[in-house]
């Protein structure tokens, strides 16, 4: 998992409430055998004019000119600005996979759906919950300023505007530790690798029949 310390990037909008994981990653892409490569299909139904299928070459598809993420000014965005209850619906981990693969590092919204919120941290994405009024203000500033950028400083738990203004945010201490150090669940368990090896050695002595190749 990528570690997250400080990200300065362009902010892009997903300006509607209750965006569900189906919208983020439509079901026809769940049959894939991969967890990478979902970025081009993120928000597929909104983003393209044709019906998306796995394995399509998205660079050749007709884009929806009215969908903000297709606007020139939002290209290369790394921070997604969203509304209430972002990521609701099914528990598919393909949704955060897609957002991360697209290039986003952080998401800001008044609230996120539970499972999506958890899944995001597992995949190196930082979801930030801010007051609805503050999010609203950010939307206004973003629309008013072409190339609008924010800096997210996880260590300091601050969002910095280019004019120097700062917005503090909350994050669970354990999750912060994991993100700062790029530790996913597996990474955390592997910090106990010595304990696992010690157990394994002892277990192998007691139950040697559980070890050895199956041929």
């Amino acid at each position: 998992m990528k570690s997250f310390t400080t990200v300065t990037g362009v902010v892009a909008p997903m300006d509607r409430a209750n965006v569900d994981t189906d919208m983020i990653m439509p079901k026809q892409f769940l049959k894939s055998i991969k967890r990478s490569g979902f970025g081009p299909f993120m928000f597929d139904e909104l983003r393209y004019l044709d019906v998306g299928k796995p394995d399509m070459d998205c660079s050749k598809r007709a884009k929806n000119p009215d969908f903000p993420l297709n606007f020139e000014r939002y290209q290369g965005a790394e921070i997604l600005l969203a509304r209430e209850n972002f990521g609701c619906g099914s528990s598919r981990e393909h949704a955060p996979w897609a957002i991360e693969d697209y290039g986003f590092r952080a998401m800001i919204a008044p609230s996120f759906a539970d499972i999506f919120f958890n899944n995001s941290f597992k995949n190196g994405l930082l979801p930030i919950v801010l007051d609805a009024a503050i999010v609203d203000e950010l939307f206004k500033e973003m629309y008013a300023t072409e190339g609008y950028q924010l800096t997210v400083d996880l260590e300091a738990q601050l969002i910095r505007k280019s004019n120097g203004d700062e917005i503090p945010f909350e994050v669970d201490a354990f999750r912060k530790h994991c993100l700062l150090n790029g530790l996913d669940d597996i990474g955390i368990t592997l910090q106990d690798a010595d304990a696992i090896r010690k157990f394994e050695k002892n277990w192998q002595q007691k139950s040697p029949w559980l070890f050895g190749a199956m041929q």
């Binding site: 998992m1 049959k31 055998i33 991969k34 967890r35 990478s36 981990e93 597992k122 996913d184 669940d185 597996i186 368990t189 592997l190 106990d192 690798a193 304990a195 696992i196 157990f199 394994e200 277990w203 007691k206 139950s207 040697p208 029949w209 559980l210 070890f211 050895g212 190749a213 199956m214 041929q215």
Partner: protein, 475 residues
């Protein structure tokens, strides 16, 4: 101090580290891998540049979407018609190659449904922790193992660390005492248990099945029972180790031999709940009261005896329960109050990890022998659970019995249990199925599944509607 349950013992033996937040690291002895839930896990390892912790702890085989038709099967992986299925099976082969995992490939005689081949090969053993990206992994608990299903991220976690992060569950004992009546099978026992405790009855619990009925039950019968623990809400179902277990395990390809065997026996003899062990919950059921079961709705708890009737929504006081029954009857195309034996069948499926072992096929064949499938029944599929089961059945002539009766004899796979290959129910068709889930659309869009035992399925195929198999055997 109170004694320990079987679950306590297995948990304690595999505890690597207890964490302050109530979770624990549990060591995993065996992971079974199939084509549907493993590709993203291997990809995750690759992306993170992580090796497998222990390749010898894993055993793989494709089962969920390999074709059951011999003609399609003969073409190997390349012959699989559906793209997604072929890519998934091919990807499993490639991943097993790359990571050094033993795999029984599509046309290996040892290939089969993961939960059938594990015990069959001695790849799952008493005292093991067993995981698989499949919710019916509790099947292996029949051997006195701690076995449960996991999701894809956990598959990756187990591949990379040989551990899982777990919270300890509560202990539940389901005790069935007495003698089963003739014609009443392990499948009927577990369906009756689910009817009693409900599909959420075992939530948060590890179930141990105890009492004379399970002590007298064959290993394959115990597998049928443990297989459906998840349909009663429990991720784990187990039976204590006894002589029946040891007789079953001895001499299998990956079972311990010689000195190891003696050492294993010493440990395995301790794998039962202590007499003074305390369970958080105990459910007792009278064996003599169980009759052959048939599900009429879209949840395994919607079940009744073959001599019973479909419930009338109007008789139900609780409004949400009433609504659930109305919805189920509407989907199933049944009317409240009708006799179970009046349900007509279009299709019969004998197979799945619940009932596709040799004893199941023998039981079905004993009913089918010398009879013909009813004209009104369009299709009867008999799908053995592994290549070895198929071979054994053919040696015993069971395939002839099925074919003579007008049934189809297929290649080992999950087949119509979940309809990921081309074996699907048509819309509105009623199917007597020996599988474990009767959810809406499970066996095909709009399909109507009735869960039953292999004997009951065979009898229904011949009559064209449900019949009490006890009348058939006595006749």
């Amino acid at each position: 101090m109170a004694g320990k349950t079987l679950y306590d013992k297995l948990w304690d033996a595999h505890l690597v580290k207890q964490r302050d937040d109530g979770t624990a690291l549990i060591y995993i002895d065996r992971q079974l891998v199939h084509e549907v839930t493993s590709p993203q896990a291997f990809e995750g390892l690759r992306l993170a540049g992580r090796p497998l912790w222990r390749s010898d702890a894993n055993l793989a085989t494709p089962d969920h979407n390999v074709p059951s038709l011999k003609s399609e099967r003969d073409g190997g992986v390349a012959g699989i018609v559906e793209d997604i299925s072929r890519i998934q099976v091919q990807t499993l082969d490639d991943n097993c190659d790359e990571f050094g995992v033993t795999e029984f490939q599509i046309n290996d005689v040892r290939q089969g449904i993961v939960h059938v081949i594990g015990p069959e090969q001695g790849a799952t053993l008493p005292g093991m922790t067993v995981v698989c990206g499949d919710s019916h992994t509790a099947t292996h608990g029949a051997l006195g193992a701690l076995a449960h299903g996991i999701g894809t991220s956990e598959v990756e976690h187990a591949l990379a660390t040989q551990c899982l992060i777990q919270k300890k569950m509560k202990n539940m004992l389901v005790k069935v005492e007495g003698e089963l009546n003739p014609g009443v099978t392990p499948k009927d026992v577990i369906l009756a248990i689910i009817g009693e405790i409900g599909t959420a009855g075992g939530n948060g619990h590890a179930i141990e099945f105890g009492g004379s009925v399970f002590r007298n039950m064959s290993m394959e019968g115990r597998m049928t029972v443990c297989n459906m623990a998840i349909e009663g809400g429990a991720r784990v179902g187990m039976v204590a180790v006894d002589q029946t277990t040891l007789d079953y395990v001895e001499g299998r390809p990956f079972s311990p031999k010689g000195e190891d065997w003696d050492k294993a026996l010493e440990y395995w003899h301790t794998l039962h709940s202590d007499d003074d062990a305390v369970f958080d919950r105990v459910v007792e059921i009278d064996a003599a009261a169980i009759v052959p079961q048939v599900t009429w709705g879209n949840s395994p708890e919607m079940v009744t005896g073959v001599n019973g009737t479909v419930p009338k929504p109007d008789d139900i006081a609780d409004p949400s329960q009433k609504a659930a029954i109305e919805r189920a009857l509407d989907y199933m195309g049944l009317t409240g109050g009708m006799s179970i034996t009046d349900i007509k069948l279009d299709c019969v499926f004998i197979g799945s990890c619940t009932n596709s072992r040799i004893e199941d096929l023998r039981a079905a064949a004993s009913v089918a022998k010398g009879n013909k499938v009813a004209d009104t029944v369009k299709r009867v599929l008999v799908v053995p659970g592994s290549g070895l089961v198929k071979k054994m059945a053919e040696k015993e002539g069971l395939d002839k019995i099925f074919l003579d009766a007008g049934m189809e004899w297929r290649e080992p796979s999950c087949s119509m249990c979940l309809a990921m290959n081309s074996d699907k129910l048509g819309e509105g068709e009623h199917c007597a199925s020996t599988s474990n889930r009767n959810f809406e659309g499970r066996q095909g869009f709009g399909g109507r599944t009735h869960l039953v035992s292999p004997e009951m399925a065979a009898a229904a195929a011949i009559a064209g509607h449900f019949v009490d198999v006890r009348d058939v055997i006595n006749a």
